[in-house]
Structures are given as structure tokens and as C-alpha cells.
């Protein structure tokens, strides 16, 4: 048995270590279990992203492997929920981030991300190739535009035919009893397409009219999920769910053609008048231990080889104008002539209020 003195000394010592444990150095041995958090200048860098970003086995992951082969920088993907959740986490960890680079803050959340200083400003190499209308949104390198797309109502052509009803043609139609219990949307508090769709309805019905519209949607049995993945893969009929109308992307139909074997026509369609233009951004997370490697990854992610994989893996269009789109995209993707967009300032001034009001109205 250990003597009392030594026991007390050991206990007190551990307590003091516990109370004053500030440096990571001595704890490295025990900290390997949380590798992502360990300060290690030469280790892999962590790409924090939303959950619809594939973590393995797709061409986009192959591209990241190519980046590693080229630069010696390994990239680990950390899924941090949906865009809203991911941004909130980034705000709460600002200065001591969960990773080094973040992918996927969209234009409706961008101003919030900038004002809470989660990104370290960086003007990427190769920015010239990016569409001017996107770089204009971030004139001082606050973030880097990486893709764009349109958030629109998608419908399952076969399922609607089975029900014997025509696809909806407008936002108004969605409140028609014909489409009762057929629509699934995302929670705008947690999901970026969800917020985009809410903004589309505000654009359509105005600051004082959208509430009535959403009340009608609720009466018509709209379903709400926290994120896009859950809505599309969980509830959309084409992916095995039971609702043939879903808030998704204008580029979803070509995706289904490419991955549905032997399809020559898109099995899903897009209601063009409902589309809202969404631009997504990546950035170096402020407080990263490896800013140089992080910047290199940003450069790479807007380069042609990586951007070329964006459409087929993320359902969106490349921001790099040099990339040539796959034939299926040219044939089946929808880039509406006049997608809705709302001034970032207006969104920024009202976002939280809209979300609060929406929450009270729709999910109580």
C-alpha cells in the first residue's frame, strides 16, 4: 500500500495539473485520441464542411488525394452538420477553430460569417478564373466563391404521374390542396437551402405577406427536416421516401440521370419560378495553425481539376468559368434565366428575425 504522504502528494499534484493544465505539450501523449485538436504544424489539415459533402469514395475525394500527392498536405474531412449549425459552431469556436478550412458558407449566411470573423481574409491564387459576379460579393477576400446553384422545388416526375397530378408551376401552387402532404422543406435555421427557400418566398410575397403563405403551407401539410440530406434522401420519393416535392437544387436532375443507370431523361424536374440563386464560399478559418497549407487548399479548390468534380458530387455549378460542364449537365441542369436574389444587406438585417418568425409559425 502506498503511504499516505505519497497518496496525498499524488492526489494534490494531479489536482494541480488538472487546475492549471494550459499547455498542450505535456498532454500530447494522452491527446492522440483527439487528433484533430492537437497542435501539430506538419499534420493533416482539416476541411470542415456540411454533411452533403462526400467524405470518401468519390471523384472529389480523389481530387483531394491528388492535392495531397502534389503538396504533401493531407486533408481530413470533418462533417459539422448543416450550414447553419456549422456556422454557429464556427462562431463559438472562432479563433480556435475545429479545422483549418471551411467549405460551404452560402450567400444567405455570408454576412454573418464575415461579421463574426470566422475567416481569415485571403485572396486566392487563380481568382481571375472565378465569375466576376461572385467575386464582387467578397471584394476584400473575406471568403472565396467556390460554387453556385439554384435552390428550387424539385419534383419526382414518376411519382406525380402515379398520383395523376401535374407538377406545380409556382410557389402559389404549393398551397393548393392538390399538393397536400407532398412537400418537404428544410429548417432555415440549420440548413442553407432551407434559408434560401424561405428567402425566395419572402421575395415573392413581401415582408408582410410571406407569413400567410407559410401558414398555408403548414395547413397543406408541409414537412420540415433539419438538413438537405434528410429531406432529399430521407423523404423525397425518388430516393425512397414518401414526398414527391422537395426543396433541392437546379442541378439535381442531371445528377439523377448520371447516377440512374440507363436513363436518357431526367426522372426529376425543377419548378423554375421557385428558384433562388445561391453562391457558396470557402475560407481559411481564423486561428488555424497551418495558414499556409490552408491557403494552398483554397487555391486548389478553385482550380480547374477540383472544380470540374463539383457538379457531379455536390449538385452545384463550378464558380470557375473555365470548367466545361459534363454533357448531362448541359442537357438536364436548370440555370433559370431569372433566378431570385435578395440584397445581402437586406438578408443580413433580417435573417434572425425571419428565422425566429418562421420558427414560431411553422414548427411552433
Amino acid at each position: 500500500m502506498i503511504t499516505v504522504h505519497r497518496t496525498i502528494a499524488a492526489l494534490a499534484a494531479s489536482a494541480i495539473v488538472l487546475a492549471s493544465c494550459g499547455s498542450d505539450g505535456n498532454d500530447a501523449a494522452t491527446a492522440d485520441t483527439v487528433a484533430a485538436d492537437v497542435v501539430d504544424a506538419d499534420g493533416p489539415i482539416t476541411l470542415v464542411t456540411y454533411e452533403s459533402f462526400p467524405t470518401e469514395e468519390t471523384p472529389i475525394n480523389d481530387q483531394l488525394a491528388a492535392f495531397t500527392a502534389e503538396t504533401g498536405i493531407e486533408v481530413e474531412i470533418l462533417v459539422a452538420g448543416d450550414t447553419g449549425t456549422m456556422l454557429s459552431k464556427a462562431e463559438l469556436t472562432a479563433g480556435n477553430p475545429e479545422g483549418d478550412v471551411m467549405w460551404g458558407i452560402d450567400n444567405s449566411f455570408l454576412t454573418r460569417a464575415i461579421s463574426s470573423e470566422i475567416f481569415e481574409p485571403y485572396t486566392a491564387d487563380g481568382l481571375d478564373a472565378i465569375d466576376d459576379q461572385f467575386t464582387a460579393l467578397v471584394p476584400n477576400g473575406e471568403a472565396t466563391p467556390v460554387d453556385f446553384g439554384d435552390v428550387c422545388i424539385n419534383y419526382d416526375i414518376g411519382a406525380l404521374e402515379g398520383l395523376g397530378i401535374e407538377p406545380p408551376a409556382s410557389l402559389d401552387d404549393l398551397t393548393d390542396p392538390t399538393y397536400a402532404d407532398l412537400l418537404v422543406v428544410q429548417n432555415p435555421a440549420t440548413s442553407s437551402p432551407g434559408l434560401a427557400f424561405l428567402i425566395a418566398t419572402i421575395d415573392e410575397y413581401g415582408a408582410d405577406g410571406w407569413q400567410d403563405y407559410w401558414s398555408s403551407l403548414v395547413d397543406n401539410g408541409v414537412s420540415v427536416t433539419d438538413g438537405w440530406t434528410d429531406a432529399y434522401y430521407g423523404e423525397f420519393t425518388y430516393a425512397g421516401g414518401d414526398r414527391p416535392l422537395v426543396v433541392s437544387y437546379g442541378s439535381s436532375p442531371p445528377f439523377e440521370v448520371l447516377f440512374g443507370e440507363g436513363l436518357t431523361e431526367a426522372p426529376t424536374g425543377v419548378v423554375e419560378s421557385t428558384c433562388f440563386r445561391q453562391v457558396e464560399f470557402a475560407g481559411v478559418l481564423a486561428g488555424t495553425d497551418q495558414p499556409e497549407a490552408a491557403r494552398q487548399l483554397i487555391d486548389f479548390m478553385i482550380s480547374e481539376p477540383f472544380q470540374a468534380e463539383v457538379p457531379l458530387n455536390l449538385f452545384v455549378f463550378p464558380s470557375n468559368t473555365d470548367v466545361e460542364l459534363d454533357q448531362a449537365f448541359q442537357d438536364f441542369a436548370v440555370i433559370p434565366d431569372s433566378s431570385r436574389s435578395v440584397e445581402p444587406d437586406v438578408v443580413d438585417a433580417n435573417r434572425e428575425e425571419w428565422i425566429d418568425e418562421w420558427t414560431d409559425l411553422v414548427i411552433g
Binding site: 503511504t3 489536482a15 469514395e57 468519390t58 459539422a80 469556436t93 434522401y233
Partner: protein, 531 residues
């Protein structure tokens, strides 16, 4: 000095400072006005209150019968029933939510009735133990006298028994109210998205909407209510307490009358079913799919894919590993700090009492508040500890230390002082006397305290919701995430993880219950011997 010093520093650093910081930094007039001015805030306060009152009253009503049966009668399985209820009480909140999600028909899922039901089953043990402890010591002669004078059983209960157990009932009510008022895990899993207690709203504002200031206002508001209830309960306890000649434990009796022989097995049986049914439903759901029986929830635990390459961002197996490691560290911290604190409290006079009360505070305030305060306090160099491996275990330890202290202190105080004096007389140095007399008694309560701390850490959800980082999810976090999904396979995995967590917790509690009883019996023997 180290005995008192280390726990005090830990408490000041990891609880008091974050807490003060939360109030000073985050709360201002503007955010207070905005938060309280919102109609939804008022409806959340109203909901939080009425569901807590409803849950408390229901628990009292439902819990009286089993409390009576267990306190007064001897029957087969009596101890088991009591242990079972305790085990259910210590179950992690998300597991309880999951169990009710599994148990209830779809029409009741995600409704407030499901939530209240879960609260009732959860807290039955509080009533059974708190009220039962008084009930089993109540002298039966007054009741017998009333009966002889012609009072019906109902009148006997109302006029004699109820006034006597009323202080215990009040105490139980206060505890159940505090638990259900701050309900978080159950609501996150079982409630609809719009079903929000203040606690859930604090979490949502801070982590989902990024409105730290408004979340802090709500946290403070909740704390005000908790403090008021605590004060009310102690005042009420004093007012209603009356001098009672509590008999030394008269052994519970076998049921005698015909009515008793019929009622006792019925009440005991129904209670057991109520406690076991949610757990059974949990197991069944972990091997069910819409198309039939399946083990895929268990065999596929190494991933949480929605479709190839796309996953929900929680890895069930990693969560299991994280939880075990976190619990190991939290238990070590809690045992060391709690052990030191107990020795210090037992040795020191007033300073000890202050520390004792101080260490209880993290349990009294909500876990969400603890995690929230730590997250927004330790975010600046040189105190930027958000990414350290030990921040989650420390958060858990804060909640667990009081349990280590309670178990250890009660034993320390019962150690016979005469023995130490005798040792000193025989020439032992103070340390030697302490080592030979006190230390041998310490191991058992410390072991019990450690087991409790481990159980608490494994199930901790509120503080972890703030402190854990992406990739570092613990079991309760993973369970909540998986069960919140629409895919049936993901839900099955959530149920499977819940079964694992429930099994480990119940095993720990059963061990504690046995050991605790043994220790208690020893103490009683000792007391009797001296008398």
C-alpha cells in the same frame, strides 16, 4: 490545506468564473429587452413551467402507490423493484427519450404527452425513495387507532398518513420539479421541434442561431426560477416538518389482509412493467426495421452513412470510444477532487461547509449553463481551452463531484472518533492514526462515488452539447443525432447505441446499489453496537 485548496481552485476556475463571465459579458439591457419582449419567450417560459408542474404532480400521484408498497411490505422482488426504479432514474436522459420514442405509438411520438410520460417514469424513484424512506419509519399505531375508530382507509390516509409524509412529498416534488423544469435530453430526443423548454431554447439560441447574449439572458432567467424553487422547498420543508417519533426501521411486513394480498402484487407488478417496458421497447427497436427483424443496426455500427460517401457526421464506434475515454478521465478527476474535498470538508469547520455547498452548485444550476459558461469563458488566450482533450471530462466532473463527496463524506463522518483517539493514546502519530483508522473506510465510498461519476459522465448531455467538438461526439450526442434522422437504419443504430449506454449505466448502478447497501448495513450495525 491542499485538501480544501485544490477543489476550491477547481470550483472557482471551472464553475464560478465561467458563471460570472456568462452574466457579466453576455447579458445586457438590450438583449434582455429583446429576449423578454419576444412573445415566443413568454410561451416557452409558460410551457416549461406547466409541463414541469404536470410532470411533478403526475409523478407524485403515480409514485405514491409503489412508495407505499415498497416501504411497508415484504414481497418477492421487493429489492429488485427498488433497484430497478433507481436504475431507471439514473439512465441518461437521451436514453430515456429514446426508450419512450421506441415505446410510444407514432401518434404520441413527438408530443408533450410523451415527454410528460417519460418524466414520470424517469422520476418515480425520487418519490419512491424520498417518501418511502419516511413512510417505512412511520409508526403504524396512529393509523391502526384511526382504523379502529372506524375511519375508512381513505380517511386514514388523508388525515393521518398524508400530513406525516407531507414534508417528504414536498421534498420529492421540489426535486422532480427541478429535474423536469430543466429537462433537456428527453425533450431534444422526444419532443417535436417546437417543444422547447428554457434549457432547450438556451442551447438553440447559442449553438443554432449564434445568439449568445439572448441565450445567456434565458439561462439567467432559468436560474432565477431554480433558486426560487430551492428556497421555497427549504422553507416549506421547515414549516411542515413536525416532531415525529420515527421508529427504528420496523421490518416491512408480508401482506396480511385479503385486499393487501391482492393489491400489493398488482401495484408491484404494474410498477415493474412501467419501468421495464421502455427498456424492452428500446431493445426491440434496435433489432427492428420496417420490413422485419434485422441486426443491421448492430452490425453496421461502424458507420453512419446515408448513402455511399455521404454520412451524418457522427461515427457510432468513435462515439463509443470517445465516451469511454471521457468517462475514464471524468471519473478520475471527480474521484480525486471529490475525495480531497470530502477529506477537507470533514476536517475543516466552516470553510468545509462553504466548499460543500459550493460543490453542489453545478448540480443545482443546469448542465447546459455549466457547458455554456465554460465555452464562452475559455475562449481567449491564455485560457483558450476549447480544443483541449480535458475540457469535456472537466465539465462532466463538475457535475459528478458532489456525488463523490456525498458518498464519501457520509462514511467519513460515521467513522468512530474514539478509534482515532484510541490510536493516538496508543502512540500512533496523527497521520498513522488517520491511515489506520480512516483510510480503510475510504475505498468503498470512493469506489461507489467513482461508479456514480462514470455513470453520470457516460450519460451527460447538456454540458457536452456545448463542449464537444465535431468528431469528438460522445454516445448521448451520437444517439440524439441518429434518432433525429428520417432513415430507419440510422434510427436503428441510435437505438442500438442507446441499448449499450443503458446496459452500462444499469450495470454501474446495480453495483453501486449493492455496495451502498452493504456499506449502509455496516454503518447500521456499528451504530447498533455502540448503543
Amino acid at each position: 490545506m491542499a485538501l480544501i485548496g485544490a477543489p476550491t481552485i477547481g470550483l472557482l476556475l471551472f464553475y464560478v468564473w465561467p458563471f460570472v463571465n456568462l452574466i457579466v459579458e453576455a447579458v445586457d439591457i438590450e438583449s434582455t429587452r429583446e429576449t423578454l419582449g419576444r412573445e415566443r419567450t413568454r410561451s416557452i417560459i409558460w410551457f416549461t413551467t406547466w409541463q414541469a408542474v404536470a410532470s411533478t404532480l403526475s409523478t407524485l400521484v403515480v409514485g405514491l402507490a409503489p412508495a407505499w408498497v415498497i416501504a411497508r411490505f415484504e414481497f418477492t422482488g421487493r429489492r429488485f423493484l427498488s433497484s430497478l426504479l433507481t436504475a431507471v432514474f439514473v439512465l441518461p436522459t437521451v436514453v430515456m427519450g429514446a426508450a419512450f420514442l421506441a415505446l410510444l405509438p407514432d401518434s404520441l411520438d413527438r408530443t408533450v404527452w410523451g415527454v410528460i410520460g417519460a418524466h414520470v417514469v424517469f422520476n418515480l424513484a425520487v418519490v419512491v425513495r424520498t417518501v418511502g424512506a419516511v413512510w417505512e419509519h412511520l409508526p403504524t399505531d396512529m393509523e391502526a387507532a384511526a382504523s379502529t375508530l372506524g375511519a375508512s382507509p381513505f380517511v386514514v390516509f388523508k388525515e393521518i398518513t398524508l400530513p406525516l409524509i407531507r414534508p417528504a412529498l414536498t421534498a420529492a416534488a421540489a426535486i422532480v420539479f427541478l429535474f423536469t423544469f430543466t429537462s433537456f435530453g428527453v425533450i431534444r430526443v422526444l419532443g417535436a421541434p417546437g417543444t422547447r423548454t428554457i434549457e432547450v431554447e438556451v442551447w438553440r439560441r447559442a449553438t443554432q442561431l449564434g445568439q449568445v447574449d439572448q441565450a445567456a439572458v434565458l439561462a439567467l432567467l432559468q436560474l432565477g426560477v431554480l433558486a426560487a424553487v430551492a428556497v421555497w422547498s427549504s422553507v416549506a420543508a421547515r414549516r411542515h416538518s413536525r416532531a415525529l417519533e420515527l421508529r427504528p426501521l420496523s421490518r416491512p411486513q408480508r401482506p396480511r389482509t385479503k385486499a393487501e394480498r391482492r393489491a400489493i402484487p398488482l401495484i408491484a407488478g404494474v410498477t415493474a412493467v412501467v419501468a421495464v417496458a421502455p427498456l424492452a421497447a428500446l431493445v426491440i427497436s434496435s433489432v427492428s426495421s420496417p420490413t422485419g427483424w434485422t441486426l443491421s443496426g448492430w452490425t453496421g455500427l461502424d458507420s453512419a452513412e446515408i448513402r455511399p460517401g455521404i454520412n451524418v457526421g457522427v461515427d457510432p464506434v468513435a462515439a463509443l470510444t470517445n465516451s469511454v475515454q471521457t468517462a475514464a478521465w471524468a471519473t478520475a478527476f471527480a474521484t480525486i477532487i471529490g475525495g480531497l474535498a470530502s477529506l477537507g470538508i470533514a476536517a475543516a469547520g466552516r470553510a468545509g461547509r462553504v466548499l460543500d455547498a459550493g460543490l453542489m452548485l453545478p448540480v443545482g444550476t443546469s448542465a447546459v449553463t455549466v457547458g455554456f459558461g465554460m465555452l464562452i469563458t475559455f475562449d481567449r488566450s491564455p485560457f483558450d481551452w476549447r480544443a483541449t482533450w480535458w475540457i469535456v471530462p472537466v465539465g462532466h466532473a463538475l457535475v459528478a463531484v458532489p456525488f463523490v463527496v456525498r458518498t464519501t463524506l457520509s462514511v467519513l463522518r460515521s467513522v468512530d472518533n474514539d478509534l482515532s483517539a484510541a490510536a493516538a493514546t496508543l502512540g500512533a502519530s496523527p497521520t498513522r492514526a488517520w491511515r489506520e483508522v480512516v483510510v480503510p473506510h475510504l475505498w468503498r465510498p470512493l469506489a461507489v462515488g467513482s461508479a456514480l461519476a462514470a455513470a453520470i459522465s457516460l450519460g451527460e448531455f447538456g454540458a457536452t452539447s456545448f463542449l464537444s467538438r465535431s468528431g469528438g461526439e460522445t454516445l448521448p450526442i451520437a444517439i440524439e443525432q441518429l434518432l433525429g434522422r428520417t432513415g430507419s437504419l440510422l434510427q436503428t443504430k441510435g437505438y442500438a447505441l442507446s441499448v449499450v449506454l443503458a446496459a452500462v449505466t444499469i450495470a454501474l448502478v446495480m453495483v453501486v446499489d449493492r455496495t451502498g447497501d452493504v456499506a449502509g448495513a455496516r454503518r447500521r450495525e456499528g451504530n447498533d453496537g455502540r448503543r
